[in-house]
C-alpha cells in the first residue's frame, strides 16, 4: 500500500465499514443488472461503467477504505458479501439463463481457487484443470445414471475420484519441476480428452446424460416457490454453487493464512531452502495438488448435474487454459482477484454474443498483454500482514 498510516475515517470522511457496505451493495446491484442486461449496448455500457469504477476506486482512495474495512470489519464485510450474493440470486429468481451463467461463474471460480493454491501458492502450474473438472462431471454422470448413491455423496465422490486420479500423477508431478512438470499435466489433459472420445462406455464423443441433484428429498429440477413466486430451477443450483464457492473461498483463505500456506509459499519461492529449513516439500506439493483437484472434481460434479448433459468437448485443453487464464488475470495467489477474473472470463463472452466466437482469442490476447505489462494481475496479492493489531477490533 502506498499509504502506511491508513486513516480511520476513509473516503469523504465516512467510516470504512460504511464505504465497504456501500461498495458491496453497489457491486450486487451491478451484478444483477449486468446479468439481466439484454442489449449489447447496455452490456457495453455496464462494462465501461465497471472499468471507470475500477479506475476511480484506486484514484479516489475508496480502495484504501475498502482494504481497511476488510481488515478491521472482516466478519461484517464477509456477511455483507454473502447477503449480496443471495440477494442477486433471489432478484434473478425467474430468469433461467442469467442464473445458469452465475452458477457457471461460481463453479469456475471454485476450480480457479484450487488452481490458485497449486499455481499461485505452491508454484505448480496445472494445465489439466478442465480434465479434473471433467472427472467430477463424468463421475456424477456414471453415479446418477447407474447407482442410487445420494447426490450429496456424489459431489464428494467427484472430488474423491479427481483426487484419486490425481494421485496417479503425483510421482511425475512432484519429482519434476518447471517445464518438465508442465508437460506432465499438459500431456495428461490431452490424454484425458482423447480417452473420453474413444471410450464407448463413457459415451464417446457424444457424451453422457447426467441425473439431477437432489438434497434431503428435494429434487433440484423442480422449481422452488418463494413468496408466492415460482422461481427458476436453476436457483437451486445457484444456491448450492454459491455455497460451494463460498466454502472453497473460506477454505482457501484459511489455508493461505495458516502455517500450511506459509509452507506452500516458501516451497514456491525456494524449494531447496525450504527443504534445508526442515519443511517437507513433497508433502506440501501433494497437499496443494490434491486440494486443487478435489475442488475441481466437486465443482465438476455439480456442473455436470446442472447442465445435465456432458461431452468431451467441454473439457478440452483450451478450457484448461481458460482456467489458468483466470488465475493469471486475477493475480497469482490473489483470491479476490480470482473471483473478479472468473466473473470477467465467464460472464463477459456469454453476455456479449459477438465475443462468444472470439473468446479464446480475446482472452489469450488479454493474458499476453497482462504478462507483458502487469504480471502481478488485476488485483495483486498483498504481502502477508501478521502484525499484532490484525483483527484486533472484533
Amino acid at each position: 500500500m502506498k499509504d502506511k498510516t491508513t486513516p480511520k475515517t476513509g473516503w469523504l470522511g465516512l467510516p470504512p465499514l460504511a464505504v465497504g457496505l456501500g461498495a458491496v451493495a453497489a457491486i450486487a446491484v451491478f451484478g444483477w443488472q449486468f446479468l439481466l442486461a439484454e442489449s449489447e449496448i447496455a452490456v457495453l455500457g455496464l462494462v465501461a461503467l465497471a472499468a471507470v469504477g475500477g479506475w476511480a476506486l484506486g484514484k479516489t482512495g475508496i480502495q484504501d477504505s475498502l482494504n481497511e474495512a476488510m481488515r478491521s470489519h472482516g466478519r461484517s464485510m464477509n456477511g455483507a458479501i454473502l447477503l449480496g450474493l443471495l440477494a442477486v440470486i433471489f432478484l434473478l429468481g425467474e430468469e433461467h439463463f442469467p442464473l445458469l451463467m452465475l452458477t457457471t461463474m461460481l463453479l469456475y471460480m471454485t476450480v480457479a481457487l484450487g488452481l490458485n493454491v497449486q499455481f499461485g501458492l505452491t508454484g505448480m502450474v496445472n494445465f489439466a484443470g478442465a480434465a479434473f473438472f471433467g472427472m467430477g462431471a463424468y463421475t456424477a454422470a456414471v453415479l446418477t445414471e447407474h447407482t442410487a448413491v445420494p447426490p450429496l455423496l456424489i459431489l464428494i465422490g467427484g472430488g474423491v475420484i479427481a483426487a484419486a486420479i490425481g494421485f496417479l500423477l503425483i510421482v511425475p508431478v512432484v519429482r519434476t519441476a518447471g517445464h518438465y512438470s508442465a508437460v506432465v499435466t499438459i500431456a495428461f489433459g490431452v490424454l484425458f480428452k482423447t480417452f473420453l472420445e474413444v471410450n464407448d462406455v463413457l459415451g464417446g464423443p457424444q457424451g453422457l446424460m447426467v441425473g439431477s441433484m437432489s438434497l434431503f428429498g428435494w429434487d433440484f429440477n423442480s422449481s422452488p416457490m418463494l413468496l408466492g413466486m415460482e422461481m427458476s430451477f436453476y436457483a437451486n443450483y445457484a444456491l448450492l454453487g454459491g455455497g460451494l464457492a463460498v466454502l472453497a473461498f473460506v477454505l482457501t483463505q484459511r489455508l493461505e493464512r495458516s502455517w500450511l500456506g506459509l509452507t506452500l509459499d516458501s516451497v514456491r519461492l525456494d524449494e531447496t531452502a525450504s527443504a534445508c529449513f526442515g519443511l517437507n516439500v513433497v508433502r506440501a506439493k501433494v497437499l496443494a495438488f490434491t486440494f486443487g483437484n478435489v475442488l475441481a472434481g466437486v465443482a465438476g460434479a455439480l456442473y455436470g448435474m446442472m447442465i445435465s448433459f456432458i461431452a468431451p468437448n467441454s473439457f478440452t485443453f483450451a478450457d484448461s487454459l481458460l482456467m489458468v487464464s483466470i488465475v493469471l488475470l486475477g493475480g497469482l495467489g490473489s483470491l479476490w482477484g480470482t473471483a473478479l477474473a472468473a466473473a470477467i472470463v465467464v460472464l463477459l463472452p456469454e453476455k456479449l454474443q459477438i465475443l462468444q466466437e472470439y473468446r479464446f482469442l480475446l482472452f489469450s490476447g488479454l493474458v499476453i498483454l497482462m504478462l507483458l505489462f502487469r504480471p502481478q494481475g488485476l488485483l495483486p496479492r498483498k504481502v502477508r500482514s501478521y502484525f499484532p493489531s490484525w483483527r484486533a477490533q472484533q
Partner: protein, 306 residues
C-alpha cells in the same frame, strides 16, 4: 502378423518420427539458447503449412504447373515467412520476459499459440474446415514383399533426415553454430567475446521455426490435409519428445521424436482391440517416463545452483 503390414507400420513410424524430431529440435534449440519453452511452436508450424497452402493457391493461379518448382516455391516462401514469425515472437514476446519467472514465457507462448490457432480459424477464409493439401510428389510405388513403399514417403523421409543432419552440422560445424552454442553455454561470456547476443537468439528462433515450417509442409504433403488444430497436437508431441529426450540436447530431441513415433506405432499394433487408444498409450508412457527420469533420458548437464 504378416511382414507386409509390419513394413507398413515401420514406414509410417519412421515418417512420423522424422516429423516429430524436426519439431522437437526446435524446442531444444530454443531451450538451449534461452532456457525457455516456446509452446507456440506447434501453432507456428501450423502457420507454416497454411502459408504453404496459400502459396500453392497463388502459384496455381500464376499458371506454374511443374510440381517440383511448386514445391520449391512453397518451401521457400513458407520457411522464410515462418522463420520471420519465429524471430518476431522471440523479439517481442520472449526476450522482454527473459528476467521474469521462466514459467511466464511458457504461459505467454501457450496463449500466443491459442491466439494464432484461433486467428487462423476465424480469419483464414473458411479456416475452421480442413484444407486439402495437394499431393505434389510422385506417388509411384515399389512392392516390397507385400507392402507398397511409395516414392513420396521415401522422398519426404529422406528430405526430413537431410534437414535434421543439416541442422546438426549447422550447430556443430559452422561459426554460426559455434556462436549459438556459446550463447547457450554462457550468455555473459559470449557477449564479452563479441557475439551479438540478440542477433544469435533471433537467428536461433528463426532456424527452429523454419524447421517447424518444413515439418508442417511435410505433414501436409503426407496426409494431404491441413487444419487449424494440427499444431496443438504436433507441438505437444514435439514438446514431449524434446522433454523425454532431455531438453537442450539435439540428439535427445531426435531420440525423443523417434521414441514417441515408436510408442504410437507400438500402441496401434499391440492394442489390437483399441488402436484408437494409441495416443492415450503414448502419452501415458511419456508421463511414466517423466516419473522415472524427471529430466529426460539424456539429462541436462548443469545442476541447480543453490
Amino acid at each position: 502378423m504378416d511382414i507386409g503390414l509390419l513394413g507398413q507400420y515401420l514406414a509410417n513410424g519412421v515418417m512420423l518420427g522424422t516429423m516429430y524430431a524436426l519439431v522437437a529440435v526446435g524446442f531444444t534449440l530454443f531451450f538451449g539458447v534461452l532456457d525457455v519453452i516456446k509452446f507456440s511452436h506447434g501453432d507456428v508450424l501450423m502457420l507454416g503449412s497454411f502459408t504453404g497452402f496459400t502459396v500453392y493457391i497463388g502459384v496455381l493461379a500464376m499458371g506454374i504447373e511443374n510440381p517440383w518448382l511448386m514445391i520449391a516455391v512453397i518451401l521457400l516462401v513458407s520457411i522464410a515467412a515462418t522463420a520471420a514469425v519465429g524471430a518476431l515472437i522471440a523479439r517481442y514476446l520472449v526476450l522482454p520476459l527473459k528476467s521474469a519467472p521462466p514459467l511466464n514465457i511458457l504461459l505467454i507462448t501457450l496463449m500466443l499459440g491459442t491466439a494464432i490457432r484461433e486467428a487462423v480459424r476465424l480469419f483464414y477464409p473458411d479456416g475452421s474446415n480442413p484444407k486439402n493439401f495437394p499431393a505434389l510428389l510422385p506417388t509411384a510405388s515399389v512392392d516390397l514383399g507385400g507392402f507398397a513403399l511409395r516414392a513420396d514417403s521415401v522422398i519426404l523421409v529422406g528430405a526430413g533426415i537431410a534437414v535434421i543432419i543439416g541442422l546438426n552440422l549447422l550447430i556443430n560445424r559452422t561459426r554460426l553454430g559455434l556462436a549459438i552454442r556459446a550463447v547457450a553455454q554462457d550468455e555473459e561470456t559470449a557477449k564479452i567475446m563479441g557475439i551479438n547476443y540478440t542477433m544469435i537468439v533471433l537467428v536461433t528462433f528463426a532456424i527452429g521455426s523454419g524447421a517447424a515450417a518444413f515439418a508442417g509442409i511435410m505433414n501436409g504433403l503426407y496426409y494431404n490435409e491441413v487444419n487449424f488444430g494440427m499444431g496443438l497436437l504436433l507441438g505437444l508431441i514435439g514438446f514431449s519428445a524434446a522433454i523425454i529426450g532431455g531438453l537442450g540436447n539435439i540428439y535427445g530431441a531426435i531420440l525423443g521424436g523417434f521414441l514417441f513415433a515408436g510408442l504410437q506405432t507400438v500402441g496401434a499394433v499391440a492394442l489390437p482391440f483399441a488402436s484408437a487408444y494409441k495416443d492415450v498409450f503414448a502419452f501415458g508412457v511419456v508421463i511414466a517416463l517423466m516419473a522415472w527420469k524427471p529430466t529426460g533420458l539424456i539429462a541436462e548437464r548443469s545442476s541447480d545452483r543453490v
